[in-house]
Amino acid sequence: MFEDEEENIPAISQALNISLERQEYLRKERLGKISVRMTQILLLVLGLVLWEIMADAKIIDPFITSQPSRIVKTIVQLYKEGVLFYHIGITCLETIVGFTLGTLLGTFLAVILWWSKFISKVAEPYLVILNSLPKIALGPVFLVWIGAGPASIIVMTLAISLIVTILEVLNGFWGIDQEKIKLVQTFGGNKFQVLTKVVLPASFPTIINALKINVGLSWVGVIVGEFLVSKAGLGYLIIYGGQVFKLDLVMTSVIILGVAAAIMYQGVVYLERLLVKNNDLNY
């Protein structure tokens, strides 16, 4: 019969002492990592200090470039007025709704196109044209059709992310090993079972990938939407600040935007790690 594979080799080697050579290697790696991180922080601090000093010394015009201390002041002021988290919250919420809806709806439409060869053939030229159209051009149209509100902003993000999602996910569906589908069919599986047992779970990494792309696209859609709608959110603060020449407000909003986008991206990366553990497409 079969001999069973050794499975506790790593455990054994862990229990053993680590060699000097390895300790040295690990120490060097750690040192390298720390020096990269230190340099990054140093550059940031240096940039901020330089910005502050040059603005103070009137080498650059703080009215146009703003400066770190003014930005901090603006944040505090926004906070005191009680609108800081209101604007951040609105923009983040719109973004989250945008990329979630974009991914779900895109996947759903991809399922329909996968299901029916006919529909996908019919839809093909439309998808190609819509994909190459700069969707931002449709912004004013949505504003008129849907009205100046969050709905328009969400539709804007959908316009940007939906087609890409459909194409990406559909490609994933079509790339699935036909033999895996055949396996389900050998057990008498119908099309719906092929979808739920193979196509969707095998495409999970593709869908998560589409989600990641949609986070970026959603920020673009939301900010453009807020520029147009001009009622609330970080995009609104930026456009308003620009109109009344409050560059402090513009810079502050841009920086908050950068931080929020980075945090959200990290969140999605973390989510991905959590969900895609046993799910790579290699096999």
Binding site: F187, P201, A202, D280
Partner: protein, 254 residues
Amino acid sequence: MNAVEVHNISMKYQSLNGEIAALTNIGFSVQDGEFVSIVGPSGCGKSTLLSIISGLLSPSSGTVWLSGEKVTGTSKKIGYMLQKDHLFNWRTIWQNVMLGLEIRKAVTQEAKERARILLKTYGLYEFKNRYPDQLSGGMRQRAALIRTLVTDPQILLLDEAFSALDYQTRLAVNDDIYSIIKKENRTAILVTHDISESISMADRIIVLSKRPGMVKNIHEIKLSCSNRTPLTCREAPEFRHYFQEIWKELDVHV
């Protein structure tokens, strides 16, 4: 009654570029409990033939009967093993093994118990909560075999089911599958490229011509070895004789 009867099967694949005749007038039958092997040159339509027998593909003409019932679609009588194990790596071994039962909505206590026994017999029980990429090739193939056996098929269709394995494991899996099939009196049709493998396992070997496949010859395999297993009967004196005859019929030009 014969377990499988194949009557005058012909198959043509249609595409815009033309028509490919894969099989012409194939006819043979397989008795209950018999182990039949099909050999033939690459692309002669062996996989096509198994797909037709399993009901996944309907032939251009001809009919297949399973124990007297005409095949019109997939049947619960059949267990079909493909060349690769195709274990889903988002499912644990246990979940993979249960796939066929899930699809047939036949997950019962009894079936689960059968799965447990099979996993134990094949030394995979401790691995049932692992994911496939943590298993070796041989273990994966055994898991795929259990996934098929747990649905309790009367007829096993094996399409190059062992070709992904290394030689040693392959011989061991051959012995295992053979003993299960014989012990439980199942019927089996094995497609293989490996002439030795087919002689060592089959009661009869059907040799197909090159595409479009036709039945070229059928060999009754009689090996003089007591207690036949695929491994021991490789030593039988007739083995070489069968090998040379089939080799010639396959007309392999190197």
